[in-house]
């Protein structure tokens, strides 16, 4: 077996050195009733060719995004990833290293995490960011818990503009604690009144900007209202490419920014793994969950990096830790930071402009469809399209797929209980969409209505 170096002679020699007759003796503590004497009746080992064939068969059963006019977003975005990202990502020193607990042999990981933290802080307009969390949804739940810890309050208001998975992940995280969620109805029109709900019991309000249904808001008045009542404003960002063009949450008064980093460097990957972005103000650093890389010096006075402020974390604080998280999404954070480094100021700004221009172009083309309208005036690269009375967006999406078009997500997939969302289709446009893709989508929708 190609991953196992021992020969039978090696094994015999080692057993002799240990002083046992056979390897079963090493398992003597396993109760007899639980011992398996032979391999389970399951398929045996296979060579690379056989495994590749099996995966090729499974891959062929899927319609991959690159093979279709593709307009799906809803929290996971298809952006072009420069070739250098994946080539560098597979370097074994990155891929096969562990958490950088021994900093002298982990300066590569620690420095890129420090650079990543800086990029996320800059991009979100915040003071400081952690080394990443599992994904945007778990980062959002962690932000709710942190806000309760900071304010010593128990009520978390979840906006109807927030990604439904972020909402349900946060609700799940709080359900067996003394923290409570105040869940607003989904808000496809961007009309909800959050300011009116903030009170002296509120730990935080969590909104998404641009919202799940596309709309962009100046959150400054909401931030002011939160702060007037002693609450925090948490802002989620689903596509960090938007921050190339849209004012960052930090500039609008956010106290915590969470987000999904997948759209830079990581690719679609059927939704996982991604990476949770988490940024906040300096004054809350010690209340922050998750791993942090920090700068220091070595005994020769040279600049270097270590994991730091670990007294917040579970391996020291156990049940009193800020979170049970014991990892970050290191390799995805590396992909993110490499993609963003390649883009730089100039590239990210241009990429964001292209995304916005493509979304505007798509909206213009969709106007041809009788009865259809984009629900909100503002958006970045994604919007909610009302397809017309009596139209079931899920049926349309299903028929589009039959034509080889991956044309958005029906809003009802997330909110099956909201009748008014049945005709709503969520569509995203990125730099990967050509003019002909857009024409194909519009034509296909017309045929499917």
């Amino acid at each position: 077996m190609r991953y196992l170096p021992h020969t039978d002679a090696d094994r015999r020699h080692m057993l002799r050195a240990i002083g046992v007759a056979d390897v079963d003796a090493l398992f003597r503590d396993v109760p007899d009733s639980a011992r398996l004497d032979k391999p389970l009746d399951l398929p045996r080992h296979q060579g690379e060719m056989e495994v590749e064939r099996a995966f090729a068969r499974m891959a062929m059963k899927n319609l991959s995004a690159g093979c279709a006019p593709f307009f799906i977003g809803a929290g996971v975005y298809r952006h072009h990833i420069p070739a250098a990202v994946d080539q560098l990502l597979t370097r074994g020193e990155f891929l096969t290293s562990y958490t950088p607990y021994q900093p002298e042999v982990s300066q590569g990981t620690l420095q890129y995490l420090f650079e990543f933290q800086t990029q996320v802080a800059i991009l979100t307009g915040m003071d400081v960011a952690n080394a990443s969390m599992y994904d945007g949804a778990t980062a959002c739940a962690e932000a709710a818990v942190m806000a309760c810890r900071v304010t010593k309050r128990r009520k978390v208001i979840l906006s109807g503009s927030l990604h439904p998975h972020y909402r349900s992940t946060t609700e799940t995280a709080l359900q067996y604690t003394d923290m409570k969620t105040d869940l607003l109805a989904p808000d496809p029109m961007g009309m909800e009144d959050l300011i009116g709900r903030v009170d002296s019991q509120t730990a935080c309000v969590i909104v998404q900007n641009p919202g799940f249904f596309g709309g962009i808001k100046d959150l400054t008045p909401l931030a002011d209202a939160c702060h007037a009542d002693g609450a925090l404003l948490v802002v989620a960002v689903a596509d960090p490419v938007s921050l190339g063009l849209v004012a960052p949450p930090g500039a609008m008064g956010a106290d915590i920014v969470v987000g999904e980093g997948q759209s830079l460097g990581v690719g679609l990957g059927f939704g996982g793994p991604g990476l949770g972005l988490f940024a906040t103000r300096d004054r809350y650093v010690r209340q922050m969950p998750g791993r942090l890389a920090g700068q220091t010096a070595d005994i020769d006075g040279k600049r270097g990096y270590v994991l730091t402020l670990s007294t917040r974390e579970q391996h020291i604080r156990r049940e009193k830790a800020t979170s049970n998280i014991c990892t970050n999404s290191g390799l995805c954070a590396l992909a993110f930071t490499m993609h963003l480094t390649l883009l730089g100021e100039t590239g990210l700004t241009r990429l964001a402009e292209i995304n916005h221009a493509n979304a505007v172009r798509l909206e213009q083309k969709l106007r041809r469809i009788k009865g259809a309208r984009v629900l909100q005036r503002s958006y970045f690269n994604e919007f909610a399209l009302y397809l017309g009375d009596e139209v079931d967006a899920a049926v349309v999406v299903d028929r589009l797929a039959d034509k080889g078009v991956l044309g958005g997500v029906p809003a009802a997939r997330f909110y099956p209980d909201y009748e008014e969302l049945v005709p709503v289709l969520i569509l995203a446009a990125t730099e990967t969409n050509s003019e002909s893709d857009m024409d194909a989508l519009v034509a296909a929708i017309e045929e499917c209505l």
Binding site: Q87, P100, L268, G272, H356
Partner: protein, 513 residues
């Protein structure tokens, strides 16, 4: 022409292949590009609701060759499994097959969106379903929740299912969780997230759970016990069946921390031990890369009693193919406790784990756990006369030593570990588990050859003799010497946190301010 140069050392500060590398923020120059993008189409009127960003973002501009060199140089400052032996106990640093990477990059698996119509992703659902099938077969358990993103996330999953079960059966008052003192810190932290209180169980002198103490603590307010098996000392809990029996008799559940499942795959099914739920670290047992600290995945197996509470989403076999259940209403009467993360789990990790499992097969998986245990016992046998093993008898996949062998030498476990770095090895896990003094926990894994182990043994023996010679403490204290950076000041980092670069920061002295 008078120019200054150092008498010793190099002019650049570099040492051959060890090249100093600035931060990206110190490399950028406005107007460079690392990605060529077309000009954006003109937009008559933007739709940004007056929220257009004002001024510069503040990111550096670099060209592609600069970027490639930057990350290549950073990679050269890292030690990975590909570099050498990495006996980091409890972390299972084994070879990461490249076939798994190749499969995860097939466009038909990588370039899929989680919200495509389900009929267009039947192959992806088949990957999830096939892996779930293997995990159930290998553990003997009837159900598995695939969405947990990591080991700690899986712990939380199992505990949430337990809490949901108790709430649903009028047992919501069961809030106490019994956790051995040797447990990983995530265990109590995960319990706290479910509103549970943690009650520690002491260990016996032989490194196992004190079963009498555990029984004395059981009661009708106990929700579950959390026991790692094989445990964090690398030992199999020999009274596990009695522990499970007593726990069940008290109306509580048995959460098994499956971090060390790699020691017993194919040789023991945890269902036969009386386990009700256990997470499986795919990044340990099934060889998906650790990636410098994630991403991993922590699918969590569940007994029949707990299965109805498994979180959303999950895959079921339906008419016309596989179906992803995303809402309670579609769950066929099940009572999912909620949703743990976005989308459908760590799919890219699933592909890698399944490729590994299919490569190994039932025979290879059993041989892997056997060789892992063999290798650990070989290290234990060959080092026992110079180091101080903490417990008698054979170990499982890792061997634990404490620092008695360093008594009165002036050398600590930390110093010993740092000296190993200079010898070209990644150190073992230090100071964990907490139940022995100055722990050195070594996990060789099955993918290391006898030659590698023999060479390592010679080095460790040499270092032990050197430490005990009594004259080498200063030498140990000043290790490592040959790394890109020597010992780093962690106190300074925590006392004056510098967690990001800022414009105008001095490249050399910022931390010392």
């Amino acid at each position: 022409m008078p120019e200054s140069f150092p008498i010793s050392g190099t002019i650049s500060g570099n040492r051959a292949l060890q090249i100093e590398e600035p931060l990206i923020f110190e490399l950028g120059s406005d107007g460079r590009l690392g990605v060529d993008l077309p000009d954006p189409a003109p937009v008559d009127e933007d739709r940004l609701a007056g929220c257009r960003r004002q001024g510069r973002i503040g990111l550096p501009d670099l060209s592609e060759p600069q970027v490639v060199r930057h990350y290549t140089r950073l990679s050269q400052k890292n030690y990975g499994i590909d570099t050498g032996f990495y006996p980091l106990g409890s972390c299972t640093m084994k070879h990461n097959p490249r076939l798994s990477e190749k499969m995860a990059r097939l466009p038909g698996l990588a370039d899929l969106h989680p919200f495509q119509p389900q009929k267009t992703v039947q192959g992806a659902l088949e990957v999830i379903d096939s892996l779930a099938g293997w995990l159930k077969d290998l553990t003997g358990m009837p159900a598995v929740a695939m969405s947990p993103a990591a080991g700690a996330h899986g712990e939380w999953c199992g505990l949430m299912a337990i809490r949901a079960y108790h709430e649903d059966h009028g047992q919501g008052h069961r809030r106490r969780v019994l956790v051995p003192e040797s447990a990983h810190g995530t265990n109590p932290a995960s319990a706290a997230m479910c509103g549970f209180t943690v009650d520690p169980i002491p260990a016996r002198d032989n490194g196992r759970v004190d079963v009498d103490a555990l029984k004395a603590k059981l009661g009708d307010d106990v929700a579950c016990i959390m026991v790692t098996n094989p445990n964090t000392c690398g030992l199999f809990e020999d009274e596990i069946i009695e522990i499970a029996r007593a726990t069940h008799a008290a109306g509580a559940f048995f959460y098994c921390d499956g971090a060390n499942f790699n020691a017993i795959v194919g040789r023991v099914r945890v269902a036969d031990l009386g386990v009700d739920t256990m997470h499986i670290n795919l990044h340990k047992t099934f060889s998906t890369p650790h990636g410098g600290g994630g991403p991993g995945a922590g699918p969590t197996v569940l007994s029949d009693k707990l299965a109805p509470y498994a979180p959303l989403p999950f895959v079921v076999h339906g008419e016309g193919g596989l179906r992803l259940v995303e809402h309670v209403a579609e769950a066929g009467g099940a009572k999912p406790f909620g949703r743990m993360k976005g989308y459908h789990g760590q799919f890219g990790v699933f592909v890698r784990a399944l490729a590994y499992i299919m490569s190994m097969g039932s025979d290879g998986l059993r041989q892997a756990s056997t060789d892992a245990v063999l290798n650990a016992n070989y290290l234990l046998a060959r080092l026992s006369d110079v180091l101080t093993p903490s417990f008698d008898g054979p170990c499982m996949h890792e061997c634990l030593f404490d620092d008695r062998f360093l008594k009165d030498t002036g050398v600590t476990t930390l110093d010993f570990a740092k000296a190993m770095i200079d010898e070209g090895y990644h150190p073992m896990t230090m100071y964990f588990p907490l139940v022995v003094h100055g722990a050195l926990l070594m996990e060789p894994t099955e993918t290391e050859s006898k030659e590698t182990l023999d060479a390592f043994v010679e080095v460790v023996r040499g270092l032990a003799f050197k430490a005990r010679s009594g004259a080498a403490a200063d030498d140990f204290k000043s290790a490592p010497r040959y790394t890109p950076r020597r010992r780093l000041d962690e106190t300074l980092a925590a006392r004056t946190p510098v967690l990001r670069w800022k414009p105008g920061a001095n490249a050399t002295a910022q931390a010392a301010e």
